[in-house]
């Protein structure tokens, strides 16, 4: 009797495990495909320009604001984005530039003509790091594994069926060593990300929202970022004025920054 019961329960438990495994494998969709299709929604495929407003909230009240112009261009061979960020507001920082050329990150101050190297994790404003305003290609910079599927609430508090993917950095030069990433099963749009430090600590949680038809795809025009430690600190990034841009290669050189003209 004991043996029969044992076998029955073994089959029942095994069935549950197999069901979960099948669900995670999701009928042939690979983690790489999920991430690259989601990348294509987060960023236009060619060179583009846009403006980003970063608003920092503390306990629901605005505590700081910044507006930047972003110029991005994918590298022909690797597809990695080179990005030039021009600070438009606040007035005291107007004209300052941040340049990312693959893994180089530079800060240029036109008043002193000095350019200094900065790290991706250095804070720009609120919960936004320098690396966050740079266009990034998760499929290139991270190895991905499907962790499973989950129904979560998106930023509009609507339930949505998602793939859950774990991204592990393949280079030490990316902003975050590990990301947990929720991607909508229906159309591969990014829904949520949890961004971790090398220590394993949660740095921030991001929700992608307000999807609009921009440059041939429905893309997020807003990201809400919650501080990993103090959840009362929330930063909103709003994207607008997307346009296709022709950007010469030499614009992504540190020595050229002095000659940048506001676009």
């Amino acid at each position: 009797m004991l043996g029969k019961s044992y076998m029955k329960r073994l089959v029942q438990s095994g069935f549950i495990v197999c069901l979960f495994a099948l669900k995670a494998a999701n009928a042939g969709v690979t983690a790489e495909e999920i991430v690259s299709r989601s990348d294509a929604i987060r960023n236009p495929s060619g060179s583009f320009a846009m403006e980003t407003k970063i608003t920092q909230y503390e306990n629901g009240s605005i505590s700081d604001e910044m507006v930047v112009k972003i110029l991005s261009k994918p590298e022909e061979n690797s597809g990695s984005y080179r990005t030039l960020v021009e600070i438009l507001k606040p007035a005291k920082d107007h004209g300052k530039l941040i340049l990312r050329n693959v893994s180089d990150l530079w800060f240029y101050d036109p008043s002193s003509k000095a350019s200094v190297r900065i790290s991706p994790q250095q804070r720009l404003l609120g919960q936004v790091s320098n690396g966050d305003v740079m266009s990034s290609n998760f499929a290139l910079d991270y190895a991905s594994v499907i962790l499973g599927e989950e129904v979560i609430r998106d930023a509009t508090k609507t339930k949505i069926d998602c793939y859950v993917v774990e991204l592990s950095a393949t280079s030490s030069q990316v902003t975050y060593p590990k990301i947990e990433y929720w991607v909508a099963k229906s159309d591969f749009r990014p829904v949520k990300g949890r961004f971790y430090a090398a220590s394993g600590g949660l740095l921030k949680v991001a929700y992608y929202t307000k999807f609009k038809q921009i440059l041939d795809a429905k893309r997020p025009t807003e990201v809400l970022i919650i501080d990993g430690i103090d959840v009362k600190k929330v930063t909103k990034m709003s994207f607008s004025s997307y346009k296709v841009a022709s950007i010469p290669e030499y614009w992504f050189q540190r020595s050229w920054l002095e000659r940048y003209e506001s676009q």
Binding site: Y6, R9, K89, H94, R153, A155, R254
Partner: protein, 455 residues
């Protein structure tokens, strides 16, 4: 027992979500962030005159208490800066000026100490072909990427115009450009540059003199013929290389700068220059004694200098923590700074010649003006804690002189009153024996209150 284990395994899969630990942080977001209609996209209107022209007004009040006399020393500074770029059909016209006024308790040397109009930059820039450039006029030529000391910043001597700040980096940032011609070519990952800056007569007239309020200070920015050739290359691996050849009044020197990303938080950088020349000290003594700024007795104190190879270097690391603290630690080496033995001789000479003490201390201000550390070795630390709460930023700077163990510690708090207005309070404390670089300053501490309005 086995049955229990199997049930437990089954229960784990049934009860827990597919991936353990997934929560929902959405409720942390205040409702007012969702008030915008979900179909509405904020349109950011950002084009303004600031794209071409920027103004700033800075008011500084500096307070120090004299150690010996106990007297309070209060200085006030006001500066209005205006910087613009006027687009032209094939280039642009660049202008950067600063109108300064001061009221000081300290002894003043000239009318310039009260009011001065500085033309920091004024040049015409032309584009040649797709990525070539020709600039003519007064240009701020800036190189090097260390924070506390830039050996490869070859045009830095005698051009700083901000004397209220103890932070060498901030002093260096506010300066006069050199008059000359610059040719540059930018390629995909390489950059070539040549600068020629001629010697301009220091003959006293209203345009070139150092004394008049509107003087262009050409004697300071263009003291000798100079030629700088530089090459830079960036790599996909996050490394950056700069190479320099500088010909300064016929004396050549080579320079190198390298920087690299270690990981998400740590950066490393290095810059150095080497040249066969007379030391900074021997040049200061030669011109100082000739012009009567230094007493002749000082010449006998230091051994006669000969031309030799002198090195200057800065090596540093930057660390950004998860809690938004960014710290830079640098080691500075100036081969032609004074050795411990020379510093001791200098201090003893000052002690033994009270009548000449004031003039002998001038050696220190000469080193400061040349932007070369007076000592051979120094450690420099700067830490910025960005907005831990509200709109406040906190800063700490320490400059430690290895040879005499004296140091400057500076704590600062900056507050963003609005997008346009920033307030900053700095408290500096000088530590060291009486005969040491920071210990010999007339005050033990200094306080600086600064208001900046940017428009």
């Amino acid at each position: 027992m086995k049955t229990l284990t199997l049930y437990a395994i089954g229960a784990v899969f049934l009860v827990l979500p597919p991936v353990a630990g997934f929560g929902d942080e959405l409720d942390s977001i205040p409702d007012n962030l969702f008030t915008l209609d979900d179909t509405e996209v904020e349109v950011i209107q950002t084009k303004s005159y600031n794209d071409y022209w920027n103004f700033s007004l800075r008011v500084q009040s500096q307070f120090q208490k004299e150690r010996n006399s106990g007297e309070d020393n209060v200085n006030h500074y006001l500066s209005l800066s205006s910087a613009g770029k006027i687009p032209l059909p094939s280039g642009r016209f660049v202008i950067d000026t600063s109108l300064r006024a001061s009221y000081r308790d300290e002894e003043e040397n000239s009318a310039r100490d009260h009011v001065a109009l500085d033309i920091k930059e004024l040049y015409l820039s032309n584009t040649i072909g797709e990525s070539g450039f020709l600039d003519v006029g007064r240009i701020n030529i800036r190189s090097g990427f260390a924070y506390g000391f830039n050996p490869t910043d070859y045009f830095r001597p005698n051009v700083a115009i901000d004397d209220a700040d103890q932070d060498v980096r901030r002093r260096r940032n506010n300066r006069l450009g050199t008059v000359g011609i610059r040719v540059e070519k930018a390629l995909e990952s390489e950059h070539y540059s040549a600068v020629y800056s001629p010697a301009i007569s220091t003959k006293e007239n209203r345009f070139s003199s150092n004394g008049s309020i509107t003087g262009l200070h050409l004697g300071q920015s263009n003291p000798v013929d100079r030629l700088l050739l530089s090459y830079s290359k960036s790599s996909d691996e996050g490394r950056d290389l700069q190479l320099y050849y500088m010909l300064d009044d016929g004396v050549g020197s080579l320079g190198i700068g390298r920087s690299a990303v270690v990981n998400q938080k740590i950066l490393a950088y290095f810059e150095a220059t080497v040249g066969r020349r007379f030391s900074v000290l021997s040049n200061i003594l030669k011109t100082g004694i000739r012009d009567g700024v230094l007493p002749e007795s000082v010449g006998a104190t230091f051994s006669a200098a000969e031309k030799q190879l002198y090195y200057q270097a800065a090596i540093g690391f930057s660390y950004s923590s998860e809690s938004s603290v960014t710290t830079n630690l640098e080691y500075h080496y100036a081969g032609d700074g004074m050795s411990k033995n020379e510093l001791t001789k200098w201090y003893k000479l000052i002690e033994a010649s009270p009548a000449d003490a004031g003039r002998l201390w001038a050696i220190r201000s000469q080193y400061t003006a040349l932007d070369v550390p007076i000592n051979r070795e120094a450690l420099w630390l700067r830490s910025i804690w960005d907005s831990p709460f509200g709109g406040y930023d906190f800063g700490l700077m320490v400059n430690y002189i290895v040879s005499d163990q004296s140091y400057l510690g500076r704590f600062s708090v900056a507050y963003d009153y609005s997008d346009e207005v920033e307030l900053e309070l700095q408290f500096s404390r000088f530590y060291g024996k009486e005969a040491s670089f920071f210990g010999s300053l007339p005050s033990d501490y200094g306080v600086l209150l600064q208001l900046g309005w940017f428009f």
